[in-house]
């Protein structure tokens, strides 16, 4: 079956692209992903905070007569950036599929330089993940947007490889923002970033931070927006968050996604899960009236949909109005 797709100007053999995760920290698991059929891979993110943290002076001396230090000094000799670049080069040299580097941060300081280094190290594209919580009540929406745009255009200035922006859903006017990104040189957007949400432990009355993996079903938000954007922007569209099954992935393509990112399901079930999803997509395509995936891409987008209102407010009104209490009563 022809599952080929185009993403950021790169032809991919299928739309399944593992997103940034610890799986690319190991060549072994990265290779397993490739073997399972991944068409490209987004490398784990280079975090701004890690660079800052690792950049502090290394104190060889801890001030006691018998111990110069407690952790082997030589372990720290390599900086995070250096390690990251090396791993990128290793991934590039051992994988045949494209490798997309990911930058995760919010400040301008140093990012342009880092992006350049990632491009030089052989990244096929850059994903810029501006993980920014607009918690400053004095900051306006346009100021927040400006941060993204400034970061993007700075980066665009120095790298020639494609850049995709991974966005959160928290924009007043997402479509407009996507347009602005396009105008500032982006080649794609990935929808949506999942912010790890702090939780409250009600017994200890403490904030509990823990990794929460996505669930199948969480993909609907991204699906809606991809459906809205498809055909109305020249940017490549990547669907991310909550894709766990072949069905989820097919839906994303039908909505208009050029690629579908996978993460939580691979962390839960291992790299081979990708092969299962791929197989499921192939089976669906075979049974479907379409000859290629490219053909069915976006057929359920808002633009092509017979019911464009379903992606907007009307849908909501209908749903609420139609809700009835189950016959079995309250659960």
């Amino acid at each position: 079956m022809d599952l080929r797709t185009h993403y950021l100007g790169i032809e991919l053999k299928n739309p399944l692209v593992p997103s940034a995760s610890p799986l690319s920290r190991s060549l072994d698991t990265a290779k397993q992903l490739e073997d399972a059929g991944a068409s490209a891979i987004v490398m784990y993110s280079l975090f701004e905070e890690e660079l800052r943290r690792n950049g502090g002076p290394r104190y060889v001396d801890i001030g006691h007569t018998e111990a110069r230090s407690y952790i082997p000094d030589y372990q720290q000799d390599q900086g995070e950036l250096e390690r990251h670049l090396e791993q990128l080069q290793r991934l590039k040299s051992s994988l045949a599929i494209p490798v997309i580097a990911s930058l995760n941060g919010v400040s301008l300081d140093g990012w342009v330089e880092n992006g350049k280094l990632l491009a030089e190290a052989g990244a096929d594209a850059l994903e810029l993940n501006a993980y920014f919580i607009a918690a400053d009540l004095e900051q306006s929406a346009s100021e927040v947007e400006q941060r993204y745009l400034a970061l993007l255009s700075e980066l665009r200035r120095v790298v020639s490889i494609p850049i995709t922006m991974k966005l959160s859903p928290y924009f007043s006017s997402l479509g407009n923002m996507v347009n602005a990104l396009e105008a500032n040189g982006a080649n794609g957007v990935a929808l949506f970033n999942r912010f790890y949400q702090p939780d409250i432990d009600i017994d200890s009355l403490q904030i509990a931070s823990r990794l929460q993996l996505s669930h199948s079903g969480d993909h609907l938000l991204a699906m809606r927006w991809i459906a809205i954007l498809h055909g109305r922007t020249r940017l490549s569209l990547a669907a991310t968050s909550g894709v766990h099954t072949a069905e989820d992935a097919v839906k994303m393509v039908l909505a208009g996604a050029d690629v579908v990112h996978l993460c939580s399901t691979l962390l839960l079930h291992g790299p081979r899960e990708l092969a299962q999803i791929l197989e499921g997509m192939e089976r669906w395509l075979e049974a479907s009236p379409y000859e290629s995936l490219e053909q069915c891409k976006g057929v359920m987008s808002q633009r092509q949909s017979r019911d464009p209102g379903a992606f907007e407010r009307t849908n909501y009104v209908q749903l609420l109005g139609g809700y009835t209490v189950s016959k079995e009563g309250w659960r």
Partner: protein
């Protein structure tokens, strides 16, 4: 070829050669030699290759004895093999050294010399270790400096291959091993040229090989052994010539000539000092100075100590010599002279006896100096030369101390300075161990070394404490090679940097300032206020010595530049800006270049931040205008309170004030005995924040005093009438709970000046303020505003009576925690995971504890002077503590048990003998006393007191005997305490034997899963996947299950505890272990700074370890079998979080993900599996029905 200069220390110099010229390196950590092993491990892990293009194989062994065995085996099978050690480590190698030498096996052991443990352990440098090994048959080649450690390491390597005699290459621990100096590199080409590959082939040809087998290590009989011993003579006879040839070849290659004995001094010298090691450099400097003043003196530096070539010595002596002082850096009690002295005197006497002496017989005296790195200064050298002038020079003298008992000591002029030393530019820096001062200074030395023709030397004096440790850096720069192997003295420093304002209170820093010196202070005070924060004496010194006074608010500059609290680069910049070592612009450029080199590809961002800090440092550096008169109205506070006991005032205070060198011999007990409780007099005021108790919120759970690593939070329950005269801010509240008398009050009081501010009390507090859940019943608040009032409250608290031990319900945490800790204010790391266990034991059993403490962290924070945290209660009772060695602690403790049991048995026998005099009823009461409770013990103590009174009236020898051992009728609790390095590795054989002994001892293993004290080397307790020194690539093997091993004896009480994961479980385990009438072992999880995490996370780390299954909590109590129950109780639940959650939280594991992600992932998988299967296995064992064995079939 142009010579390359390096700035390295002696350890790195020696290790460089060792790594280059060997194939197998067997190591074991011991101060001060550990860094050599660490370097070798580092280089091999980075793939650095030796001379022949292969990466040397490194193995860490379980002890130095084990290392020596492995070396012997490796040598016997043909590998070029080496090791690094010191002190007791060398002693443990001695049996193998005899073997290695006896079999004529070439090898070099590199030794950073260190004192031996005698009346006390000392990690510092002297020659006791090499002297103890001098009869092994090894050759001993000594280096006097960092350069020589480089050079002699190679000369030894070349000579051993040629002579077949194994070598010890030694240099002075700390003074040379840790001194950073600018040296000429001994490059690979030189090493290549010095090592003859044919000799290596010959070594391999002699190896054991089944292709052409031979037998070695036979057992010989009277007919043969003696001849065989003499068969080696020709090899020894030729060794000194071989060494000299190697030295000559080396000189041709490098231009640095050496001789077996190098003479420095006047050709017509009459007075000569003979010595070896770093002190010879000071003697060299002094000799040149004195000769320039018209004296005729000289020094002989002994290079090859064994084989001792008397002829070469005689040849080196000028014929004019009339008097010789031979200096030994060791003491051989009972001998009529120390080893080098006797060798010299024998050699010279022999030359007269056989008529070869080219000179007239000189007077020869011997003396001791520099034990345990005691300072050896030009003034002392001069005093020795002066002594040699006297017709009746003092023999067996000492220099460097005030021996007012045996009057051996020479008097020296401490103000004497050599011309050479006056040419040095000297700088001293006072910093915290953690603020990067030492790193910055090493960097400064490197910059000067690389950018100028100047020679440079750095020596770093560290604290005996681990928390809030201070480091004093001594830096010298000068146009000539620096031979000053002593600290910068009073009135000698041209620059003094004080990196922490709190040191103004603690040290007389300006004593060191030379006339016109510069003083740089890091302070928040503005230029117009800075003068007034100085104590009076300091102000006077600034005026008198015309000191230029500069200040900078380095923390603000760091914060603003984005460096957080890292001030080292800023202080370094200021030093360069005002010291004129380099033109300012050049210096700044050099610092910036160093920043670029060290941050490299870590990103432009960091480089920019540092550049900003450097520029801002210059802009924020201010010179303070010094008034002409002293204006300050305060002096530096006394080191201890005025009400401290006389001994503390006289001895401890002197040590605390850095005046320990002036303490005379008479002030110290000759047998190493010291009083307890001295840590309480040392008010260190380390905490920026201390806990404040909210008596309204508190539920009196007792968790905060339980977890406090430093024993600074205390609770007492008392009659509130006693608080009538309490200071106004003293807090107390009616105590909750029926276990206390009605109407009584409880207080939780902090010792504000002893707290380290770790915040773990706040962390553990379970109470939340309903209105503000961030607030608890204890909250961290700034210390300084509370210092005075809380000090008064603490003093008042101490006057409140202790709660009656008989009434304490030790099964309840809140109740147990009113027991007085007899382990308080240790110098352990802030937030230490070990000390709460010791404190707990001291609370529960301290008044009857005898402690055998293995060498390690616990012996250092427990017994490293000047103070000890082990303390006495108001009745004068407390833990009696001792440290024997590292390897023998279990046996040491068992010996204590046997001794106490024997004396108790004898006392019982004497009671029977004296039954008529004492009274039958009293004898039976004494013999059959139930001492299973505090009340029982109390009653028995009263009986013993009555017995003592009665015995005084009995005029029988048995009564005298019984008087001396009657104490043993009261129960004694023997505790064998140590870390995992001891229990899992070096002491495991002994531990196993004690486990099997069935004796009533309590073993406490403080399991930090790493050798903590020596700097974080791997032990067999280190978990799989953790990164530690000697496991740079992550430990590939699993942690040893010590609990399972102990349980296999079936009659041993075993508990595995983690106090912050389940506190009552720990409490219960301690009570059960102590009450068990046989061997008990508690394996206690103890988070450590060596794991790389902030110890503020201590509790969380314990919790995750237990919940992930890494550390199952369990108790195995053999007593349960008697009631038909399974002895094993598994006290923690099955793993409830993924193992990744546990390891991901700790730097020791997570750093492997960065360096070797795939290895980390694989090791994690294995560990996860292990954790599950171990838990499952324990669960199965604990779940087995426990049936009594069948009766014997009749």
């Amino acid at each position: 070829m142009k010579q390359q200069f390096l700035t390295i220390d002696g350890n790195e110099a020696a290790a460089t050669i060792a790594h280059l010229a060997n194939e197998v390196i067997a190591i074991y950590p011991i101060t001060p030699a550990s860094p050599m092993g660490e370097h070798a491990d580092e280089w091999s892990s980075q793939g650095r290759r030796n001379l022949w293009g292969t990466v040397p194989k490194i193995i860490e062994m379980q002890s130095e004895g084990g290392a020596a065995g492995a070396i012997h085996g490796a040598l016997q099978t043909g590998a070029l093999t080496t090791t690094f050690t010191a002190s007791q480590g060398l002693l443990l190698m001695i049996p193998n050294m005899y073997k290695i030498a006896g079999e004529l096996t070439p090898t070099v052991f590199h030794v950073a010399t260190r004192s031996l443990a005698t009346h006390a352990l000392s990690i510092f440098g002297d020659h006791a270790d090499i002297m103890a090994a001098r009869s092994t048959g090894f050759a001993f080649l000594g280096a006097c400096s960092v350069q020589e450690a480089f050079d002699m390491a190679l000369i030894a390597q070349a000579a051993t291959l040629e002579s077949r005699i194994p070598f010890v290459h030694f240099f002075d621990g700390f003074r040379t091993s840790h001194e950073v100096a600018k040296v000429e590199e001994v490059n690979k080409e030189t090493v290549r040229a010095m090592i003859n590959d044919e000799l290596i082939t010959a070594h391999r040809r002699r190896a054991l090989n089944p292709e052409h087998p031979v037998l070695r290590g036979s057992s010989q009989n009277p007919d043969l052994y003696f001849q065989a011993r003499e068969a080696i003579n020709p090899y020894y006879a030729s060794t000194s010539a071989i060494v000299q040839q190697c030295m000559d070849r080396f000189a041709a290659l490098t231009g640095r000539p050496y001789h077996l004995f190098d003479y420095v001094g006047a050709d017509d010298a009459e007075r000569i000092i003979v010595m070896m090691g770093s002190g010879a450099e000071t003697a060299h400097e002094t000799v040149e100075h004195l000769n320039a003043q018209g004296e005729r003196v000289g020094v002989i530096k002994v290079r090859l100590f064994r084989p001792f070539d008397s002829a070469a010595l005689i040849k080196a002596l000028p014929a004019t010599v009339k008097a010789i002082a031979v200096l030994d850096r060791t003491k051989e009690p009972g001998a009529d002279g120390e080893p080098l002295y006797k060798d010299v005197i024998t050699g010279i006497a022999q030359s007269f006896a056989n008529g070869t002496a080219p000179l007239s017989m000189p007077r020869i005296i011997g003396g001791r100096y520099g034990l345990s790195s005691k300072e050896f200064t030009p003034g002392m050298v001069k005093a020795i030369f002066d002594e040699l002038k006297k017709p009746q020079s003092k023999n067996s003298f000492t220099v460097g101390i005030d021996d007012d008992v045996s009057h051996t000591s020479l008097v020296w002029d401490s103000t004497f300075r050599t011309q050479a030393s006056l040419k040095h530019n000297c700088a001293i820096f006072y910093g915290l161990g953690s603020d990067g001062t030492v790193s910055a200074n090493k960097n400064t030395i490197k910059i000067i070394g690389e950018h100028t023709e100047l020679h440079a030397q750095g020596f770093f004096v560290y604290d005996s404490k681990k928390s809030g440790a201070i480091t004093v850096s001594h830096l010298r720069f000068g146009p000539e090679p620096i031979r000053s192997t002593y600290l910068i003295g009073d009135d000698s420093a041209h620059f003094i940097g004080c990196h922490q304002p709190v040191f103004l209170e603690r040290y007389d820093m300006l004593d060191k300032a030379a006339l016109g010196a510069t003083f740089l202070l890091n302070t928040t005070a503005s230029p117009d206020k800075a003068w007034n924060i100085l104590p009076r004496r300091m102000q006077q010194q600034i005026i008198d010595k015309q000191v230029k006074f500069f200040i900078i608010d380095a923390y603000r500059v760091a914060e603003e530049a984005g460096l957080g609290r890292r001030i080292n680069t800023i202080m370094q910049t200021c030093h360069f800006a005002i010291s004129n070592l380099l033109p300012k612009e050049q210096a700044i450029a050099a610092i910036k270049h160093a920043v670029e080199v060290s941050y490299g590809r870590k990103g432009q961002q960091l480089i920019e931040i540092n550049f900003r800090a450097i520029d801002s440092a210059i802009a924020n550096l201010h010179q303070v205008t010094v008034p002409t008169t002293v204006t300050s109205n305060f002096e530096r506070p006394a080191p201890v309170a005025v009400n401290a006991p006389e001994f503390v005032q006289r001895v401890t205070a002197a040590m605390l004030a850095d005046r320990g060198d002036t303490i005379p011999v008479s002030a110290i007990a000759a047998d190493g005995t010291w009083p307890l409780g001295t840590a309480s007099f040392e008010k260190r005021n380390l905490a920026l924040e201390i806990p404040a108790w909210d008596e309204d919120l508190c539920i009196h759970c007792g968790k905060c005093p339980f977890v406090c690593p430093h024993g600074v939070i205390r609770s007492k329950v008392f009659d509130p009438a006693l608080a009538a005269d309490a200071p106004p801010t003293f807090k107390h509240a009616p105590v909750k709970g029926k276990e206390f008398p009605e109407g009584w009050h409880i207080t939780y009081q902090v010792a504000p000046e002893d707290c380290t501010g770790c915040g773990l009390c706040f962390d553990i507090c379970p109470v939340k303020d309903k209105e503000n859940p961030g607030r608890r019943a204890l909250n961290m608040v700034p210390q300084s505003p509370l210092r005075v009032s809380e000090r008064q409250n603490w003093e008042f608290f101490l006057t409140l009576p202790e709660f009656d031990r008989r009434e304490v319900k030790t099964s309840l945490m809140k109740s147990a925690m009113v027991l007085q800790p007899l382990f308080e204010f240790s110098g352990a790391c802030s937030g230490c995971g070990e000390t709460p266990y010791l404190k707990l034991a001291s609370q529960l059993f301290g008044d009857r504890m005898v402690v055998a403490n293995a060498t390690g962290c616990s012996s250092i924070y427990g017994g490293n002077l000047p103070t000890t945290p082990w303390a006495k209660n108001n009745e004068g009772r407390g833990p009696a503590w001792s440290n024997s060695l590292f390897e023998d602690n279990a046996e040491f403790g068992l010996g204590m048990r046997l001794s106490i049991d024997k004396q108790r048995e004898f006392a019982s026998e004497l009671l029977h003998v004296l039954r008529d005099e004492i009274g039958s009823e009293q004898v039976e009461a004494l013999l059959n006393a139930d001492q299973s409770s505090e009340a029982g013990i109390h009653d028995q103590r009263e009986r013993v007191a009555e017995l003592r009174a009665l015995l005084k009236t009995i005029d029988k020898s048995e009564a005298r005997q019984l008087e001396s051992i009657a104490d043993q009728l009261v129960l004694k609790s023997v505790w064998i305490i140590g870390g995992d390095g001891w229990a899992y590795d070096i002491g495991f054989g002994g531990l196993d034997h004690v486990l099997a002994s069935g004796r009533d001892v309590n073993i406490l293993v403080l399991d930090t899963e790493v050798y903590s004290n020596t700097g974080g080397q791997t032990s067999k307790a280190t978990p799989r996947g953790a990164v530690a020194k000697f496991s740079a690539g992550g430990k590939p093997t699993a942690k040893k299950d010590l609990a399972m091993i102990a349980m296999s004896y079936e009659n041993v009480y075993v508990a595995q505890v983690a106090y912050a994961a389940k506190d009552v479980h720990t409490l219960k385990a301690f009570m059960e272990a102590e009450s068990y009438p046989g061997v008990s072992i508690i394996i206690a999880y103890a988070p450590c700074i060596a794991w790389g995490n902030d110890l503020g996370q201590n509790h969380q780390m314990q919790d995750l370890a237990v919940r992930s299954g890494h550390w199952p909590l369990l108790r195995y109590d053999p007593r349960r079998t008697a009631i038909g129950e399974n002895p094993l109780q598994l006290d923690s639940k099955a793993p409830s979080i993924d193992y990744r959650e546990f390891t991901g939280n700790e730097v020791r594991f997570s750093m492997l993900w960065r360096s070797h992600p795939e290895v980390a992932e694989n090791l994690l998988d294995e560990s996860r599996r292990e954790a599950w299967s171990r838990y499952h296995h324990y669960e199965q064992l604990a779940g087995l029905p426990f049936d009594q064995p069948p009766e014997e079939k009749k």
